[in-house]
């Protein structure tokens, strides 16, 4: 595998983690347009810990996830008051605030960016991405996930049947933020250079795109979406200039024709079932 394709694979892994972070929060019916903010927190905290403190990357990533998760929980509480587009707008504002914050954090390079991280291989990135995808796929078969779906489908009824909707929604935010932070930490250590511009609105949109295109009802959909977003432009070289527009068209088409995304839960279950019978 050439270095070029190796780099693309690493990008898929990082985008997959970002998409999963959106997916987890979306599973409770909350759309976040600011997950690049959590990713930025992860990238900067992890880089600070490895470069300036000298911690091993594994520890740094976990600590970054904890920090971003805590921020996610803090954001999750006020987010309870907002729904739909209002939540989308608030999270969008949060993402821009985080970007602006790091733009002014001179001790971490400010607008000039930050470097000095040790490079990690795509295999390492995929170690994390694969484990977290597996974790979320297992989580999907648990009771906790059923409760999250209940909150997604009808929050009021979920409350009536005795579910603690507050805890479920806030923890989803915290968990999603932690996953986004790991994506950020891996991004920083794969690209060995970060600047606040890496974590703008477009990045948050990429995550959402991957989830909506790939399938918003099953975690593996995020993988399909992420792979599509990274590899489709490569295979469509002949209209490289129009690849973004192609995604725009694809997004509109998916929403019009197949709102659950390319993959959905039923299809996923069917394929497992068939495989078992065979």
């Amino acid at each position: 595998m050439s270095t070029y394709y190796a780099a693309l694979f690493a990008d898929v892994g990082i985008l997959l983690l970002g998409a999963i972070s959106v997916y987890i929060i979306l599973a409770t019916g909350q759309l976040s347009l600011g997950n690049a903010g959590f990713m930025a927190i992860g990238a900067y905290v992890a880089s600070y810990l490895t470069v300036k403190i000298g911690l091993p990357l594994m520890v740094a990533l976990l600590l970054a996830a904890v920090v971003a998760g805590a921020v996610g929980v803090v954001i999750g509480f006020p987010a309870l008051r907002l729904k739909g587009i209002y939540l989308a707008m608030a999270t969008l504002g949060f993402g821009e605030m985080v970007r602006s914050f790091f733009l002014n954090l001179e001790s971490m390079g400010g607008a000039g960016g930050f470097h000095g991280m040790a490079h990690v291989s795509p295999v390492y990135v995929w170690g994390w991405a694969g484990s977290i995808l597996l974790l979320v796929t297992l989580l999907e078969r648990s009771r906790v996930w059923l409760e999250m779906c209940a909150v997604h489908d009808d929050e009021t009824v979920a409350g009536f049947i005795g579910l603690n909707t507050t805890v479920i929604k806030v923890s989803a935010f915290g968990f999603g933020a932690a996953v986004a932070a790991i994506a950020g930490g891996l991004f920083a250590h794969h690209h060995i250079y970060i600047e606040p511009g890496n974590f703008g609105f477009e990045r948050s949109i990429d995550f959402v795109l991957a989830v909506i295109l790939g399938g918003s009802t099953v975690a593996i959909g995020a993988l399909v979406g992420a792979a599509l977003l990274v590899f489709l432009p490569e295979t469509l070289r002949f209209f490289a200039d129009w690849r973004l527009a192609a995604f725009g068209v694809l997004l509109v088409l998916v929403l019009l024709v197949r709102r659950q995304g390319l993959l959905d839960r039923a299809m996923f279950m069917r394929s497992i079932f068939k495989a078992r019978r065979a």
């Binding site: 907002l82 989308a88 707008m89 504002g93 909506i212 527009a245 694809l250 929403l255």
Partner: protein, 303 residues
């Protein structure tokens, strides 16, 4: 010495207020564009940010050919109006009864398409407007106002007045307000809601296009990225003005414009965006009805 310094400081302040109002005018127009669709249909049309950018380029192309400014503004508005109507037909109408996140994401699809289109047509490097446009300046004492700043403020006032007339005084405006109040009841009373949705999108597109041409005049350059920069800021302006009342933007636009310019003058440039989005989030949480207030309504939490 100190008195002279004081005067100078005062003039700097006045000068910056003028600049702030100019920027605020543009914010006001885009925020009105957002809140027309948001207030009437309860949908966030994210493509407005890029419609605005597209308007800027259309206006630029006209001015670059040496044609008069009014023609540029009309071209910008006409172009974006048509695109906005296409967006309504493809991205909004079929998804109207879905949860509001669906139409918002499909307008996002259009904003991606529009940005890509602009990059391919006009390139991703910034385009400069001819500098002789900006030579004329009027001095009032020590404050000087560029002719273009006056144009920006003047056009904004005219457009806002026109919009106010349409919304408050015409039959279409009355129908629009009825749909905003309650779509189903309005339909029962014979209002053709479907067609009015198209009108709302068209008006909103026209405002975004005009704002685009004006921002070109304000900054003297156009890039494909002004949509994200200024458009997102305009969402904040709309929220501060109140998402369910259209006219809050008239106050919030100049307010945010002046606030931004002042933070830059007094050494706060780094915290500018941080402050603006921070205020937006606070307003969303504490006063979803906007700074102007009024009773917080059901619509404040429209799902």
């Amino acid at each position: 010495m100190s008195i002279v310094g004081g005067f100078a400081g005062c003039f700097v302040l006045l000068q910056q207020l003028v600049n702030g109002v100019t920027l605020g005018s543009v914010y006001t127009l885009i925020a009105l564009s957002f809140s027309l669709v948001m207030g009437i249909l309860g949908v966030l049309n994210l493509a407005i940010a890029e419609l605005f950018m597209f308007g800027a380029y259309l206006g630029f192309s006209v001015i670059a050919r040496g044609l008069p400014l009014p023609l540029a503004i009309v071209t910008g508005m006409a172009g974006t109006t048509i695109i906005a109507m296409v967006i309504e037909k493809i991205a909004y109408e079929p998804l109207r009864d879905m949860p509001v996140i669906a139409p918002m994401l499909s307008t996002l699809g259009f904003s991606i398409i529009l940005q890509n289109l602009a990059t391919n047509i006009w390139g991703s490097d910034p385009l400069q407007l001819p500098p002789e446009l900006f030579d004329t300046r009027f001095s009032m004492g020590t404050i000087s106002i560029g002719a273009m700043q006056l144009v920006v403020i003047g056009v904004t006032i005219v457009l806002v007045a026109l919009l106010a007339f349409i919304v408050q005084r015409t039959a279409i405006g009355r129908a629009l307000r009825a749909v905003a109040e309650n779509r189903e009841v309005a339909r029962l009373l014979g209002v053709r809601a479907g067609r009015l949705t198209l009108v709302a999108f068209a008006l909103s597109g026209a405002l975004a296009g005009a704002a685009g041409v004006l921002i070109g005049l304000h900054y003297a350059t156009v890039t494909p990225y002004i949509g994200v920069e200024t458009g997102l800021k305009a969402i904040a302006v709309m929220v501060v003005g109140g998402t369910t009342r259209i006219w809050g933007a008239l106050l919030a636009g100049p307010l945010i414009g002046i606030l931004e310019v002042l933070t830059v003058v007094y050494g706060g440039a780094p915290v500018r965006d941080f402050t603006v989005y921070g205020i937006m989030i606070l307003i969303l949480l504490l006063r979803p009805q906007g700074i102007l207030g009024g009773a917080s309504t059901e619509q404040g939490l429209r799902v």
